[in-house]
């Protein structure tokens, strides 16, 4: 069909890109995780100290667990918001579908930072939320724990990642042939039965894809905690960032990164297997 040269020329740039900017950095990171820092210098001495440190110092494990807890909360909340929205739009929005779809997409054009700062002004002690509560005389002075807390991080990240959950969900709902819904009604199932027996099972691949997006993206997030989280909501990526930055312990940072990478890849592997099993054609 196509000549060898054509194929080579066409595939060389992306291949080069992947090798230079993906495989090489990963290899470097992997190597670093087995080196160590002595007197402020990275020494190329192969050892397992970094990994030992990770599992001996309870702080790292605690932060990782907290990160996963936050990621799980964000995932559940994004699904709780995204699923009803996608369901409504796919089955009941009628001619308003297109407009609503655009409204969901538009926030994706707004920079992450802008949205982070927006939550800062909403949740802050002289923010909109506190002002509203005081206006209603529910509280009498600004409540400070809205901002700089895991709550603020979960809220902000949920806001940011809900469209990512929505998109695959909506696509999978749109792909359900409508005559299956009619067949279900025809056979005697009401709206509830039809949802749980037909719509939900057939939307599982989209649900899984959305959940994976939210979970994995939150797992690697470091801006959320920086913008709206306090010391109590430091996440694993913040630790990596500081180890590579001010703390200057690249080997330990690399070891943590390798752990996160392994975790993420196994998660993706698992969800892909499940997605395949739940996809019918």
């Amino acid at each position: 069909m196509y000549s060898r040269t054509y194929k080579t020329v066409l595939s060389a740039p992306p291949l080069l890109w992947v090798v230079l900017f993906l495989l090489l950095p990963y290899a470097l990171m992997f190597a670093h995780s087995f080196w160590l820092v002595r007197d402020g210098l990275i020494v190329h001495e192969w050892n397992l100290q970094n990994y030992a440190k990770l599992f001996q110092n309870p702080v790292y494990l605690a932060v990782l667990l907290r990160t996963m807890r936050i990621a799980a909360s964000v995932t559940i909340l994004s699904l709780a918001l995204g699923y009803p929205l996608a369901y409504y739009m796919s089955f009941h929005a009628g001619p308003r579908k297109e407009l609503l779809y655009q409204l969901v997409i538009v926030p994706l054009w707004v920079s992450y930072l802008v949205r982070g700062y927006a939550w800062k002004t909403i949740l802050g002690s002289d923010g909109v939320f506190n002002g509203f509560l005081q206006y209603l005389h529910i509280t009498h002075e600004p409540v400070s724990f809205f901002l700089y807390s895991p709550f603020a991080v979960v809220l902000t990240l949920t806001h940011i990642y809900t469209p990512f959950v929505f998109l695959p969900l909506y696509a999978s709902l749109e792909h359900i042939p409508r005559n299956l819904i009619e067949a279900s009604h025809d056979l005697g199932a009401g709206p509830r039965g039809t949802f749980f027996r037909v719509i939900l099972p057939l939307s599982l691949p989209g649900l899984l894809a959305g959940a994976t997006f939210a979970f994995v993206l939150t797992l690697g997030d470091f801006l959320g905690p920086l913008l709206v989280g306090g010391p109590s909501s430091i996440m694993i990526a913040n630790i990596v960032q500081s180890l590579f930055g001010t703390a200057y312990d690249w080997p330990l940072g690399a070891a943590i990164s390798v752990c996160i990478l392994v975790l993420t890849i196994s998660l993706l592997f698992l969800t892909e297997r499940l997605e395949k099993r739940w996809t019918y054609r």
């Binding site: 299956l180 279900s184 025809d186 005697g188 199932a189 009401g190 057939l202 739940w278």
Partner: protein, 363 residues
């Protein structure tokens, strides 16, 4: 013309069938926006009857079926079944089941679970479900595929599962929406006869939608021919073929020759064809089936037969019959005669006056 009309008002859509009325459609109209899809339509279906809604695409036949199933609401009018108002009930509360055009089997469920679906969602006793599923699958000869997923089945097999799934709830009325249209010709013939014997065996009323007039003829007790959202004629296949009420019916159900004739003193004349009629003077339209025209050398005519000479224009051999196009006095006629080898030149033909059926002309 007025007598013509009254003599063949076959639009009285009541079943000729003995048996009680199961489904009654009363003055139903359906509009989608400004487009009127069904116009003031009334129809009765007898219990145990096989009634076919026949029509071109856009005639409203599928819409009528969907109104009965409950997927659409009539704009006006009522639908009743066994003395109960049907059109106000949601589809899941109607004792009506549907075989969908593209089967609509649940892809995430096995064949057995597809069939069991209707039983599970209506809360049938769990102990009853497996034997009833098995019986339904045996009915359509699909018991060995119980554990298979629909995507692994051929079109014909999916069709059978769809029928089993629709029958398992023991509906009073089974709706079939062009169920055979996606199958190839041979399989279609086979499924037709299977559907027909299934219907006889179970005694369930079938409301069948198709655009294929041959299929309608082969299967139905009665055919309801729809045109632009209203009923053109409702009658048995034989009646509709032999005595089409309108020129549209005559042309849609089988092939025909339409003869535009003038009647004077008991004789109809169309070109150089003349035959006796018992109709008042004036213009009239007649339907003459291709097989009603015979070759004089092949068959014996009665003394009343209209005889004429015609030139052979075209001959198509199709197995047991020959399709001819003949010309007489500037008129082209389609003729179907028993196969008899090549013909050429002029021949004598005839038809019996009783085979020229007066039809109404409908714009």
């Amino acid at each position: 013309m007025t007598e013509l009309a009254s003599s063949s008002t076959a639009i009285a859509a009541a079943p000729t069938h003995t048996g009680t009325v199961l489904l009654e459609v009363r003055n139903v109209a359906k509009r989608f926006g400004l487009r009127e899809v069904l116009t003031n339509l009334s129809l009765q279906i007898a219990s145990g009857e096989f009634l076919t809604l026949l029509g071109e695409s856009g005639s409203g036949k599928t819409t009528l079926l969907r109104l009965v199933a409950g997927f659409e609401q009539p704009t006006s009018g009522e639908i009743w079944m066994s003395g109960e108002r049907l059109d106000t009930l949601p589809p899941y509360k109607r004792r009506v089941n549907t075989v969908f055009q593209h089967y609509a089997l649940f892809p995430h469920l096995s064949v057995a679970d597809n069939v069991a679906y209707g039983l599970r969602v209506t809360g049938a006793p769990p102990a009853e479900i497996p034997p009833r599923v098995k019986a339904a699958l045996e009915l359509v000869k699909m018991q060995e595929y119980a554990a298979t997923r629909p995507s692994k089945l051929s079109g014909g097999q999916q069709q059978r599962v769809a029928v089993a799934r629709a029958l398992v709830n023991r509906p009073q009325l089974l709706l079939l929406d062009e169920p055979l249209s996606a199958l190839d010709a041979n399989l279609r013939k086979q499924m037709q006869s299977e559907l027909k014997s299934l219907q006889r065996e179970l005694g369930i009323t079938f409301l069948f939608v198709t655009h294929d007039q041959e299929e309608a003829m082969a299967l139905s007790d009665r055919i309801a021919l729809l045109r632009n959202g209203s009923l053109e004629q409702v009658a048995s296949p034989r009646e509709i073929y032999v005595h089409p009420a309108t020129s549209y019916t005559a042309q849609f159900v089988g092939q025909t020759n339409l003869l535009r004739a003038a009647i004077r003193e008991g004789i109809a004349a169309a070109g150089n064809l003349n035959w006796p009629v018992t109709l008042p003077d004036g213009p009239a339209l007649f339907s003459l089936r291709p097989d009603a025209i015979r070759l004089a050398s092949q068959a014996a005519a009665t003394p009343y037969a209209a005889r004429f000479r015609a030139r052979i224009r075209q001959q198509i051999f199709s197995g047991a019959t020959e399709q001819l196009e003949i010309e007489t006095g500037g008129q082209l006629l389609r003729v179907r005669i028993p196969a008899r080898g090549p013909l050429s030149g002029e021949h004598e033909f005839f038809f019996e006056p009783t085979d020229a059926i007066p039809v109404r002309e409908r714009a």
